[in-house]
């Protein structure tokens, strides 16, 4: 990792970073999946993470809300350090929303119930209050008319937009996207990306694992390239795409562009 020249190492704790990852390592058994990850994310920053499959990019963002446990190093989200302490984990999950590749909607609940279940059971809201919030965000992702349907009756793109609305209902300050468009048919990718762009414009702090390079170019403040469990290169999108520094980055870009 030492030979990599990280392009913009200006982010520091003092600038009010929302997420600080310092020297994080993770192993699956013997397999070293994440190696010395250092990353600071400022409020309102939009970061796109790319890299070949198996490079650890999903694992990295899943560490941020403790879906995966890291074994070494520190993760601090809005001043709270992620440890085994359940209170800290709950506190961080309160601030961090997540959207998954396969949507992971709850198939036995209607679209609206998907959105409000955590409001009712975690935030202890009344059903009426929760439904108001739920409908507000379903309108934001432009599918209020589907509120009473079940996820199984919706298209993939619609399901993913519901998943985004479900996360937003919890009023997170950070959103994680784990390949949100990879499981979608091509004609549905745009509707989901449009929703994400709209979210970015509203000033949300976002970390997106995605292969949508168009999205990276228009929306991201920074692009991070990972390979073999390491952050190989990070830069502003324009410089990243026009002038990649590292051979592995060049190879990757030449394969996907």
């Amino acid at each position: 990792m030492s030979e990599t020249d990280t392009a913009k190492p200006e982010m520091s704790a003092s600038t009010g970073a929302m997420i600080q990852i310092q020297g994080m390592h993770k192993w699956y058994g013997e397999f070293h999946v994440l190696k010395d990850i250092n990353l600071n994310v400022a409020k309102g920053e939009r970061i796109v993470i790319c890299g070949p499959s198996g490079s650890g990019k999903s694992t990295m963002i899943r560490c941020i809300n403790r879906l995966e446990e890291h074994q070494q190093g520190k993760i601090i989200v809005e001043g709270t350090e992620l440890t085994d302490d359940v209170k800290h984990i709950d506190q961080i999950r309160r601030e961090v929303g997540m959207v998954f590749q396969h949507f992971n909607l709850f198939p036995h609940l209607t679209v609206l119930e998907n959105c409000i279940i955590a409001l009712i059971w975690v935030r202890k809201m009344s059903r009426r209050e929760a439904e108001e919030i739920g409908m507000k965000f379903l309108e934001k992702v432009k599918i209020p008319e589907q509120a009473r349907k079940y996820p199984g009756q919706l298209s993939g793109g619609q399901q993913q937009r519901v998943a985004i609305a479900r996360s937003l209902c919890m009023n997170p300050s950070i959103m994680l996207f784990d390949e949100p468009t990879s499981a979608l048919d091509p004609e549905m990718i745009k509707e989901v990306l449009d929703t994400m762009i709209q979210l970015a414009e509203s000033g949300m702090t976002m970390l997106c694992v995605t292969h949508e390079m168009g999205f990276a170019k228009t929306v991201a403040n920074r692009v991070i390239f990972m390979d073999g469990g390491e952050i190989i290169e990070e830069n502003e999108p324009e410089a990243f795409f026009s002038n990649p520094q590292h051979d592995r980055t060049k190879l990757f870009l030449s394969q996907i562009m």
Partner: protein
Amino acid sequence: MNVQKQPGPDLPPPASSVGVIGWLRKNLFSSAPNTVLTLVAGYLIYITLVPAFQWAFLNADWVGDSREACDSGGACWVFVAVRFDQFMYGFYPEAEYWRINLAFGLLIALMVPLFIEKFSRKGMLAAFILIVYPVIAYYLFSGGAFGLVHVETSLWGGLSLTLVLAGVGIVAALPIGIVLALGRRSGMPIVRAVSVVFIEFWRGVPLITVLFMSSVMLPLFLPEGTHFDKLLRAMIGIVMFQSAYMAEVVRGGLQAIPKGQYEAAQALGLSYWKTMGLIVLPQALKLVIPGIVNTFIALFKDTTLVLIIGLFDLLATIQSAFSDPNWLGYSVEGYVFAAATFWIFCFSMSRYSQALERKLHTGHAR
């Protein structure tokens, strides 16, 4: 001119492919082997079902009060009619039959609103049925309070005992089974070990052994003079035994729920128990409704085994009636009646489970 071609009108299918004739041709006489099979099967049905029907209905005797009434050569349902009260209530005192009727009547009355779509307080009513009703039913059956005469459990019997055993077994085995299934999949080694040992122990012994142990051996280990009702011991044995089976059925459902469901629930901040109760179990239990009802049906029929420890359930009561010297030789009628009664209950459970599956299907194909 921008006229689009109108779709043609829907025509009815040709008469030979629909209706009775069409159905017969397609399903019974489509080829030579099929025709032969149809005829052979029809013949077999004719030589078995027709005499059975004649025996059970056409040539049967229905009214009377002694075996002299049975002279038509068919089934003697008089035997069942004369003994009917005993088959239903066992040796329960006749003057107190109303208490059993009231207990079951009350249960049915309480359960009716659960099946009414519009009724909105289902949760509260279900809680009442599960928590308050058993207390009411206990006092109605057992008495000894509120001016009701005490009736020993050794006098309980017949269909009412079968229903009590099966009802308690079903209501208790499901929650215990769910807890055991969650325990077996728990990340905590002690919890997991306890669940595995419990499940494997009870699944590994025959129910007859469990019942014997509970009635013969357990009293030997208990301190002198401890009275521990035989029926209660049998119930506990049945519940332990069936909950082990239930646990494995439920675990099958839990394993079918994708990891993404847990992750999405966690990411929303739901705790372990809320994740299980709100997200995972509703889906898992729905998936294994056939398995759960299968276990319930097996449990219902397994209650007949209590006759080996001297409890008189429906089957045991019927069998005991065979030895009545006035009614020797009518065991076939008794067994047919027992079979028909068990079949009605088991078939109802089966149909209900299918209706439930249809109702809970939310159109997702996963």
